[in-house]
Amino acid sequence: MHELAVTQSILDISLRHAKEASAKRITDINLVIGQFSSIVDDSVQFYWDIVANGTIAQGALLHFNRIPGEMTCGNCGHTFHPTDKAFECPSCTSGFVRISKGDEFRVDSIDVE
């Protein structure tokens, strides 16, 4: 359900940057979404077609660059993708592990005409 609020924010940010660049039309929006930031792509696309209607971003394509969650072991330095059952290092079984990727949640760039 919060995809509507997220979609509206994506539109607001994109329109503001397009206006600053005096663009006539937004053709593409490039998003970077980490695994730990939960939004549903299809749902955002669905809302997009509604909220962008009548703006210069109408019909723009949304591109979701999904970043898988990544953890780095503080013991042996191994980097791995965690499962939804365990976060320990699969190489040395250490629990001294830190998240290195997956929190991303941003509008990276827009393509305009």
Partner: protein, 220 residues
């Protein structure tokens, strides 16, 4: 001709700015605030009511209740003598900073030490939306199971305090506390953790004593 414009802006930056304004409002009134998040049934409302009881007048408390469409929780809080405001999200799955900004003026902030915001019962959406409180608190209850940090890492990432509730049920349900805590520690190293039961009262004093310390420490 197409041109690429770099943006690199957090998707919820507008919400974050509104959250910062809420924090200013609270700080100007010298009120501490916490945002309580949890899945439905984890015991948010009962923890708030038990916290009131355990505080025993040490703090002047106000409550903002987020809910889908009813005012049951606000009525419970009001019945306990708390200034309470209900935010009905009308089906929305989380509170956002604008909703809190609308609700804050309805509380007598100058007469309060602590505002507790009860977020909508949900382990996914509220984690994305800062609302401007001083602390984000997650309640995890024993019957939910020990795998929740692994299934809902976003929620466990974004809090400063974890309250493990319903520990009186530990003898009756399978819950591997070590497995649970290992996941939490990786997602949120050093998060302040309390284990308690708002039903039996076990562990409540540690939680409320700590809370009083935080509120008093914030007054300047």
């Amino acid at each position: 001709m197409t041109a690429r414009i770099p943006v690199i802006e957090n998707i919820l930056s507008a919400n974050d700015r509104m959250a910062a304004r809420n924090r200013e409002t609270l700080d100007q009134a010298d009120v501490y605030s916490i945002n309580i998040m949890a899945s439905p049934g984890a015991g948010k409302t009962s923890l708030i009511l038990k916290t009131l009881e355990s505080l025993n007048g040490r703090l002047r408390l106000g409550v903002i209740e987020g809910d889908l469409a009813t005012s049951i929780d606000a009525e419970k809080a009001a019945a306990a003598g708390l200034p309470a405001v209900q935010i009905n999200t009308g089906g929305g799955c989380h509170l956002d900073a604008a909703m809190l900004a609308d609700a804050l003026p309805a509380l007598p902030l100058n007469e309060l030490d602590l505002v507790i915001v009860e977020n909508v019962g949900n382990l996914v959406c509220p984690a994305n939306f800062q609302i401007g409180t001083h602390l984000n608190v997650l309640i995890a209850s024993i019957p939910e199971g020990d795998d929740k940090p692994y299934k809902y890492p976003g929620m466990y990432r974004g809090v400063q305090v974890l309250v493990i509730n319903k520990i009186d049920l530990l003898p009756y349900v399978p819950f591997n506390m070590n497995y649970f805590k290992r996941g939490v520690e990786i997602l949120n190293p050093g998060v302040v953790t309390f284990a308690l039961s708002s039903k039996t009262g076990e562990g409540m004093n540690e939680w409320t004593d700590w809370l009083v310390g935080r509120v008093k420490g914030n007054e300047g």
